[in-house]
Every structure is written in structure tokens, then in C-alpha cells.
């Protein structure tokens, strides 16, 4: 007498569950260059580490004797697994079963997955394809009635955004609730030309007169530029690597702090070329990414949302082995001016760092907010004050290094009001309420107009004012604490990372309403 027979029955059902939507549907998935959800989890996680939960939850067909004829699993698969030896929760849609929609789903599995990650305080990776467990038009027939829209379990998503790292990978066409899951993450990735994300797909959009392909409607070029998705890669394997890399900079939850890792890089390393990294000609731009790469631990910079709000580069890096959130102005985009999109990007990034207790370093070259009609139409100032509030609301250690421009209200957002930050400036730094170039003609209009040689008069004024704007003169009155040799910047950044480590505190971040 044993329970062997029952266990054999369980194994039989598990084997049927592994068939997903059947060989024809699996072939179709492969033919379109996409892995099945089980293959994806296998590729993403450490070998044999996946412990599935609810593998035999699904729809069974029985004969008249109540003996099992066939079984199809639910189209959402989840469980615990390890990536690089660290336990995470992973859940993914099975597109081979009713395109991942609610018709073949057991919604409690979605909720349990979210609940498990939130309760165990473990990072969550959601692999999204299809409608992510949301309904389809056919749902009305399968349920026999129309439903009042409700997103059950969304409270768990909201809570986990403030508690655990959430990564979402959009690995096919993603719509409706699936799109909501992809967008509701700390980091999201698409696969170029194989993934698309939209509120509703091309057939629905055609009804409002827009005849677009999936790519034209919600391909990576659209979604990266809109900021709805963070990154796009060429293959699914690269998406898995990106997810792992992103998580490597974060703690398991807000209840933990990231640990220092071993680094071979010398914290005192200086680079001679940094002394001439910023051009003397103030109209000339320079590339910020090589400067970042030089300053951080070798090879540690992980850029996030490269195509969105490009005037500020954001990403994680390591300094002396510590995980740091780094922002840096990019003069190639609007001269480093904060556009409305840049302000949104700064808000999200600063919130991310604050939530998971990462110290922030900001390399500043900001001539102000973007000006002009476009900027006004996009509500730049509204997004700007929201970004400023996000900065002001941080408590995580903050360091700013002014490497060139720092002007106006947006420039002032390199620090958070009167609270202490570690601040340095390079000798190339320039600051003020308004860049002189933007206002000399207006401010000295009478002098210029009354002069017998207006051009010469303007030049004279320029020379006079340029002498006054030396950062050394500002340092005389202690408006800037220290002008540093750019070659020593890495050493100071590493020192900041070391000093910040014991200052980090765990727990929930709290903030009041933003403007």
C-alpha cells in the first residue's frame, strides 16, 4: 500500500502541462523566432533552479468514468528560481495557449505570483506576451456575460513597486493588461522588431482610421522614445542578461541594502585626458559616456532608458564596488537642457534610487529648462517642478559635480534645497540665473544701441562679464565649496560611495504629493 499511483497521476498531468498549447502552437511560436515560456524561464534562470508553483493547475477533460483524457495547463507559469545564485520569483505568459489571454488563465495564479514576491520580499521578473491574463473580445462568450472592468490584484503591483524590484520583459506582442504589466516595472525590455506594446493592437486601432503594423504602432522605436519601455535588445537571450544585470545593482527589497562587491579597479585611478574633456569653446559639445566610463569602476556602467529624455543619461554603476545611481547631462541633446521628457526620466530614476536606497551622483551640465514653443506645449515647467520635487524629497546620500553649465531653476536642481550634499565643480564650470549668451543683448540693450559701434560694444561687455564668471570668483564667496582637478574625480566619487554606505537606511520611502 503506497501513494505511488497518485504520484504517477500527478507526474502524468505535469507532463501534459509541459506540452503547453500543443506541438502545432509551439512550432508556430518557434517559427516566429520566439521561445516558449518554459524555454524562456530555463534560459533566464540558473540550471535546475526553477521550482514551479501550480504546474497542474489548468483545464482537464474527463471521460464518463471520470478518468483523465487530456489536460492543458494554465497559460501563466510561475515559481521560485535562482539567477546567479540569488532567489527570485519569475512568472511568464504562455502565448501558445489562447495568446496568453484570460480565457485560458487562472487569475489566482497571477495574484499568487505577485503575492509571493511581495511577501517573501524577493525580486520579480515578469515575462509578458499577449494580453497578460487580461480579457479578449471572446471572453464574453466563455463567461456568458459582460464584465465590469476590474483589475484584480493590481493593489499587489502597486505595493510591490515600492517594495521589491520588478523587471518586465515584453517578448512578443503585448496589449491590454499585458501592456500594463510591462509598463508597471522598474525596468522593462523589448526585443527589437519581435516585440510590440500597445493599449490595443492594429485591428482595434484600424477602427479609428489608423492602419498601422504592429511595429509602426508599438514597436521598440515608438515605446523607447515615449519612455513607456526602458530598453530594447536584439535577442531574447540579451533580454534575460539585461534583467540579470539590472537586478545585480539592487537589493532584494527595500528591507535590505546592496553589498559592496570586490573590484580590481583602483579607487585612486586618475585619467590625464579628463583635464581637457570639456571644450573651451562654450558652443562645442563633448561626449559624456566616455567620461562616465572613465570615472566608474571599469565596465560597471549600466545605462537605463537611453532613448528617452536624452539630455540626461541615467544608469547604475559601481564605485569601489558599491552600487550607485548615476545621472549625467548629455550636451548632444538640447545642449543638456531639461526637456519635459528629461524631467519625467529624472523623476523616475530618482524615485528608483530612493526606493532602493542607492546613493545618487549627478554630473551636471544643465543650461536650464528647454525654452521655446515646443517646450511650452509639452508642459516642461510642470514636469520640471515634479522632477525638482522628486529630488528635494530624496534622503539618500547625494553628490553633484558641476562639470560645465549650471543655470536657472533646472540648474538649481543639482541639489535638494538646503539639505547637505557633497558638491564639487570642475574648472570648466559656469553658472548663474541665465547663461550670459542668452541675455546680454537684452540686459545691455541701451548701452549697445547708444554705442557708435554696437558690435564692438557687445564684444567689450562680453569680455568684461566673462572675467566675472570664473568659478574661482564664485569660490571666493564660498558659493561653491571646492573647484577640483577633473583628474581626481574618480577618487572623490569612490570616497563618496564609501562614506555613503553606512548612511543608507532600509525601509519604505515616504513622500507627499508633487505639484
Amino acid at each position: 500500500m503506497s501513494w505511488k499511483k497518485e504520484l504517477e497521476e500527478k507526474v502524468k498531468r505535469e507532463k501534459l502541462s509541459e506540452k503547453l498549447g500543443g506541438s502545432e502552437r509551439v512550432k508556430r511560436q518557434h517559427d516566429s523566432g520566439r521561445y516558449t515560456v518554459r524555454e524562456r524561464i530555463h534560459l533566464l534562470t540558473d540550471k535546475n533552479s526553477f521550482q514551479e508553483v501550480g504546474k497542474i493547475a489548468g483545464k482537464a477533460i474527463y471521460d464518463d468514468n471520470n478518468d483523465l483524457i487530456d489536460f492543458k495547463g494554465s497559460n501563466f507559469i510561475f515559481g521560485k528560481a535562482k539567477i546567479d545564485g540569488r532567489t527570485i520569483i519569475v512568472g511568464g505568459d504562455d502565448f501558445t495557449l489562447r495568446g496568453g489571454s484570460a480565457d485560458a488563465s487562472i487569475k489566482e495564479k497571477h495574484h499568487k505570483c505577485e503575492e509571493m514576491a511581495l511577501s517573501l520580499k524577493l525580486p520579480l521578473i515578469r515575462i509578458v506576451e499577449g494580453s497578460g491574463g487580461g480579457g479578449s473580445v471572446k471572453t464574453i462568450e466563455t463567461t456568458g456575460r459582460a464584465n465590469v472592468p476590474e483589475v484584480e490584484g493590481w493593489d499587489l503591483v502597486v505595493k510591490s513597486m515600492g517594495t521589491i524590484p520588478r523587471v518586465a520583459l515584453g517578448l512578443g506582442s503585448v496589449a491590454g493588461l499585458g501592456a500594463a504589466h510591462l509598463a508597471s516595472s522598474h525596468y522593462s525590455v523589448m526585443v527589437k522588431d519581435k516585440s510590440a506594446m500597445f493599449v490595443a493592437g492594429p485591428p482595434v486601432v484600424a477602427q479609428i482610421g489608423q492602419n498601422l503594423t504592429k511595429n509602426e504602432l508599438g514597436g521598440y522605436k515608438i515605446q523607447l522614445k515615449s519612455g513607456a519601455v526602458d530598453d530594447a535588445v536584439d535577442t531574447e537571450e540579451e533580454a534575460f542578461e539585461a534583467a540579470k544585470k539590472f537586478l545585480s545593482y539592487l537589493p532584494n527589497s527595500i528591507n535590505e541594502l546592496t553589498e559592496q562587491i570586490k573590484t580590481e579597479d583602483n579607487s585612486n585611478r586618475s585619467a590625464e585626458w579628463l583635464i581637457e574633456a570639456i571644450p573651451k569653446d562654450i558652443k562645442s559639445v563633448y561626449k559624456i559616456r566616455p567620461i562616465i566610463e572613465e570615472l566608474v569602476d571599469k565596465g560597471s556602467f549600466f545605462e537605463i532608458s537611453k532613448e528617452f529624455g536624452k539630455s540626461v543619461v541615467t544608469g547604475f554603476c559601481r564605485l569601489n564596488g558599491w552600487s550607485i545611481a548615476l545621472m549625467a547631462s548629455d550636451p548632444y541633446s538640447y545642449g543638456g537642457c531639461w526637456t519635459a521628457e528629461t524631467c519625467k526620466k529624472v523623476q523616475k530614476f530618482v524615485d528608483l534610487a530612493e526606493t532602493f536606497h542607492l546613493p545618487i551622483i549627478y554630473l551636471v551640465d544643465c543650461p536650464g529648462f528647454q525654452v521655446g514653443l515646443d517646450a511650452e506645449k509639452k508642459g516642461t515647467i510642470k514636469e520640471g517642478v515634479r522632477a525638482m520635487s522628486a529630488i528635494w524629497q530624496t534622503k539618500t546620500p547625494w553628490m553633484s559635480i558641476i562639470i560645465r553649465n549650471c543655470f536657472g531653476v533646472a540648474g538649481a536642481a543639482h541639489k535638494r534645497g538646503s539639505s547637505f550634499i557633497t558638491r564639487y565643480a570642475w574648472p570648466s564650470a559656469r553658472w548663474g540665473s541665465l547663461p550670459l549668451e542668452g541675455g546680454i543683448e537684452a540686459a545691455y540693450r541701451k548701452d549697445i544701441e547708444n554705442s557708435s559701434n554696437p558690435k564692438k560694444e557687445l564684444e567689450k561687455i562680453n569680455i568684461r562679464l566673462n572675467k566675472l564668471r570664473s568659478p574661482l570668483r564664485t569660490a571666493e564667496s564660498f558659493w561653491i565649496e571646492e573647484i577640483i582637478d577633473p583628474r581626481n574625480t574618480r577618487e572623490l566619487m569612490c570616497e563618496f560611495a564609501d562614506l555613503s554606505a553606512p548612511l543608507r537606511t532600509t525601509g519604505l520611502t515616504h513622500r507627499t504629493m508633487r505639484p
Partner: protein, 70 residues
């Protein structure tokens, strides 16, 4: 195809149709927010068509130049 990532004024056009250009060579310079922003070739390529003239005011997303990368 290269589209402008900023709004501004075409300050300088450094290439002409059918010209072969090297990787990272500057093709066009846009003046934006008082800064001169170069548009560089991502790879070696041949200029197919230039859609702008010096002094043109352009918007973000405007077509600038068609290049065929080699």
C-alpha cells in the same frame, strides 16, 4: 535615414550628395539652445540625399539626410 533629435537651426552642412563618408565623420551641425551639435555618421557610408539647407529651422523628428551605410 537620419532624423533630427532636436529642434534648432541648420548651422553647417559638411557633405554633399553621393559623397562617401567615414565612420564618425561629422555630416551636419545643428545649432540648438546656443550649442553646436554635430550629427555624425554611425558607420562608413554614402550620402544619398540631403533634405535641409543651411539656415533652415527644423523640428525634432524632421528628416535631415539619407545615408546608405557600407
Amino acid at each position: 535615414m537620419i532624423y533630427s533629435e532636436v529642434s534648432g537651426t541648420i548651422s553647417e552642412i559638411l557633405v554633399s550628395n553621393n559623397q562617401i563618408v567615414d565612420n564618425d565623420s561629422t555630416l551636419i551641425v545643428i545649432e540648438c539652445m546656443k550649442m553646436l551639435i554635430p550629427i555624425n555618421a554611425k558607420k562608413k557610408g554614402k550620402i544619398i540625399k540631403i533634405f535641409v539647407n543651411e539656415g533652415d529651422v527644423i523640428n525634432e523628428g524632421d528628416k535631415i539626410l539619407d545615408i546608405s551605410y557600407i
